[in-house]
Each structure stands twice: as structure tokens, then as C-alpha cells.
């Protein structure tokens, strides 16, 4: 299993990356951490004519707080984000999700932007960005545009990125005193792709009323799936056991998971209900 031949370029500036993308378009693939692309190339499921290595581009691997958002450059290594105090303080949901990605050695190389642009339907980070309703900043030689997760993840392994575009950074809202988060998932072995994963972001006031709720699932559809019925079950209500169970049942009913060799559709629905319940309880600090 060796990759097919390709041309390799390693630009030293972002402008050069974007110029190369404009030049090669569909023939080119961007190489970030390579933890998904290179296996696909080794198995010849991917045969790009040109590989544009992002590894030598400066200033695309910063983590910085900017007013109300935490900004992560696309080339931030997952391991660096996992170890970042800023990430733990400002975006606890991301901090909770990162250790579920592969294994430490994979996270040493794998990048935040690479995982988002790869858009595996069972990957953790798309659910995090969907639950936080972050902004995805996309760059091309023509300029920048900001895309919401609902308009970014299109289908299985497919985003709305054009061939001449790259994901430049992701901006996530910083946690406030009333935000509550949890990321939970179930996989057969730690590090495997999740059968189902759930990201929950709640805003809960001092009287235990949930002012806003966002619930995103992975492993149950072509991309991160928003459980809008579950969100409606929680939003505006005092959080109690029956409310949590109602949200969990809503989530399991509104999703449409596929049966595959790993799990049946029915099993994934039951798992989704159990995990939404776990996630909401965990987000509330185990008080319910």
C-alpha cells in the first residue's frame, strides 16, 4: 500500500498556498496533519495530482482570544489544543471532545482544521463547532468569507469549500458564567470512530432555567446533526428529570441514522437517547 505519484509543493506563505489552489483547483489536495488523507492515499482511495503541504506556512497554528471568541488557526494540532489553557478556559466543550480523537500519537499530527475540512460523519470536532455555532473562516485568492457550520458541512466527507478555497480558522464563542457543556460518545474501543457522539451547549441561569440549548450529534447522519426538537424540549424550561428525558427521546426520534456494519439504525437511536441524557446531566454537573 503505497500512494500513487504526485507533485509536492510546500509553500512558505499563505498567499502562495492560495495561489497554488487557484492554479491547481480540483487536482490539488491540501496536506495538514495527514492523519486521514495519507491513509486514503496509501490505499489509493485518494489520488491527488498535487499535494500542497501546509506544514511550512507561518501563523496558521495560533490559538488566541479575540473579544468574544476563541480563534484557532486551521493548522493547530489537536494535541496542542488539548494542552492549551486558553482552550480549557474559553471553550470547555472543545477541551472535552479532543481526547476522544484517535490516540495521542494521532493528535500530535492531526489538526483542528483538517478534521473539520475532512468532515467525517463520526468525527468529534464538527459536532463541537455545530453545537457552539462557531464561525468557519474560509480563504481563497479572492478574499475571505465566513461560513456557519450549517452551511459548511454538506454531506459525508463533503463540505461546501470550493476547490480553490481553504479553511483558514475557526472562531468559537467564549464560555460565559452561565454556559454549561458536555461532550460524550460511545465507541467499541477508545480511539475508534464513535458509533454516536453528542455535544451539548446549554445556557442555564441561577434558577436552573435553561435559557438556550444546542445539541449536535455525530455518527447518526451525513454530518453533524442538529437535534432541534431536543433543543426545544430544553429551552425556556426549568431543567428537571422529565425534561431531560423528553429531550433525549426527542433526539432519538428526530434523527435518521443508517444501519451499517458497526450498528443498526435502531441501536444508534437508543444510544443517542442515552447519550443525550448523559450529556445534559454531565453539563449540569451531575446535579440531575
Amino acid at each position: 500500500m503505497k500512494p500513487a505519484r504526485f507533485d509536492y509543493v510546500a509553500p512558505r506563505t499563505l498567499d502562495e498556498v492560495l495561489a497554488r489552489l487557484a492554479e491547481f483547483g480540483d487536482d490539488a489536495k491540501l496536506l495538514a496533519g495527514g492523519q486521514s488523507l495519507v491513509p486514503a492515499m496509501n490505499m489509493r482511495l485518494a489520488r491527488p495530482k498535487v499535494l500542497i503541504d501546509l506544514g511550512r506556512v507561518p501563523d496558521v497554528d495560533d490559538i488566541r482570544a479575540d473579544n468574544g471568541t476563541l480563534v484557532l488557526g486551521a493548522l493547530v494540532r489537536q494535541r496542542a489544543a488539548e494542552r492549551s489553557e486558553l482552550v480549557h478556559r474559553e471553550t470547555p466543550l472543545l477541551a472535552q471532545a479532543l481526547p476522544f480523537i484517535g490516540h495521542p500519537t494521532i493528535r500530535n499530527r492531526g489538526t483542528v482544521g483538517g478534521s473539520l475540512a475532512h468532515a467525517d460523519p463520526a468525527a468529534e470536532l464538527p459536532a463541537v463547532v455545530a453545537a457552539l455555532d462557531g464561525d468557519l473562516v474560509v480563504a481563497s485568492a479572492k478574499g475571505r468569507r465566513v461560513v456557519k457550520p450549517s452551511a459548511f458541512f454538506a454531506s459525508y466527507l463533503t463540505t461546501t469549500l470550493e476547490p480553490h478555497e481553504m479553511l483558514l480558522e475557526v472562531r468559537l464563542p467564549r464560555a460565559t458564567a452561565t454556559s454549561r457543556f458536555a461532550f460524550v460518545e460511545f465507541s467499541r474501543r477508545h480511539g475508534d470512530f464513535a458509533l454516536v457522539g453528542v455535544a451539548v451547549a446549554l445556557d442555564v441561569d441561577a434558577t436552573n432555567v435553561c435559557r438556550a440549548a444546542r445539541v449536535a450529534l455525530v455518527g447518526v447522519g451525513p454530518g453533524p446533526v442538529h437535534a432541534t426538537q431536543a433543543e426545544r424540549s430544553l429551552a425556556g424550561r426549568a431543567v428537571s428529570d422529565p425534561v431531560i428525558r423528553e429531550a433525549a427521546e426527542s433526539a432519538s426520534k428526530e434523527i435518521d441514522p443508517q444501519t451499517d456494519i458497526h450498528a443498526t439504525s435502531h441501536y444508534r437511536r437508543r444510544l443517542a437517547a442515552a447519550l443525550v441524557e448523559d450529556a445534559v446531566r454531565q453539563a449540569l454537573g451531575g446535579k440531575h
Binding site: M1, K2, P3, G34, Q35, V38, L51, D53, I106, N108
Partner: protein, 166 residues
Amino acid sequence: MADEIAIRITVNGTVHERKVEPRLLLADFLRHELGLTGTHLGCEHGVCGACTVLVDGASARSCLLFAAQVDGARITTVEGLARGGAPQPIHDAFHEHHALQCGYCTPGFLVAVHELLADNPEPTEAEVRDALSGNLCRCTGYVNILAAVLDAASRLRASGQRPALR
């Protein structure tokens, strides 16, 4: 198309300069260009961990890296973990705890354990399991590997050593 690329890589303290095809994987560069056959290739798609090496001190799958990508980097392979050909405390612990049988996965485990203990001299059992979760072994059942790592950690602490890397 696919012009060869000049690279300069430091492997176990020795600088190597070569011209490589872009598609040459780091694992194949180490094995075939440099003759460092301690790095084993199992699955060639990032699952088994046998090909794990250190790139600038951080573990990486050498089957998921192109040699051209690590131009200028410092690589440590399993050969670089010994001192003048002599086994070190982690090797001794693997030997004494029967933490290997066929040995195919062992280079990857040794590299991953060196990274873990260089970073965290007193890991809990759970931390060892997490650090080694990306390395597959079909002989030992892992229990002996776990025992070896915990014993190696205590030996290193007792002697005031950190796993040294070249």
C-alpha cells in the same frame, strides 16, 4: 511530474541528505534509504502503531508522513533509544516482564513509552493505557506491557533518570 526533492533529516543524531520522490513515506525512507529496519510497518494506514517514531520529540506514525514533509526535522527511531547498543531501563523492563513475544509491535511501543515517560515520569495505570491505546499487540494481551511500563517508570525515578533521546 513528481520531481525528486532534496531533503536533510537528522535521524538518531546523524544528518542524512538525500533526494526523494514526493510519495516516499518516512517509514520507507528510514528502512530502505537508511537501512534502519527497526521501524516496522504493519498496517500502512495509521492503525497499528508499529511504525511510530519521534518527530522533533513527538510521536508520529511514520507511515502517515512523507519524507519530504519532515525535511529539517529531528527523527528518533527505536535504534536511537539504546545507548551504544546497550539496553536502557525501558528495554530491561520489557525484557523482564515478558512484554513482547514476536516483537513486531515492540519498536512502536518502545518509542511511545519513551515519549510518555519523558513527558510524565509518574504515570497512572490509566495514563499508560491511554498513551499506548494507539499501539496494537497480538501476542501479549497488553497486561505485561502495562506492568513493564509502570516498572520502568519507577526504575527511572529511582535512578533519577529521564528516558534520554538522541
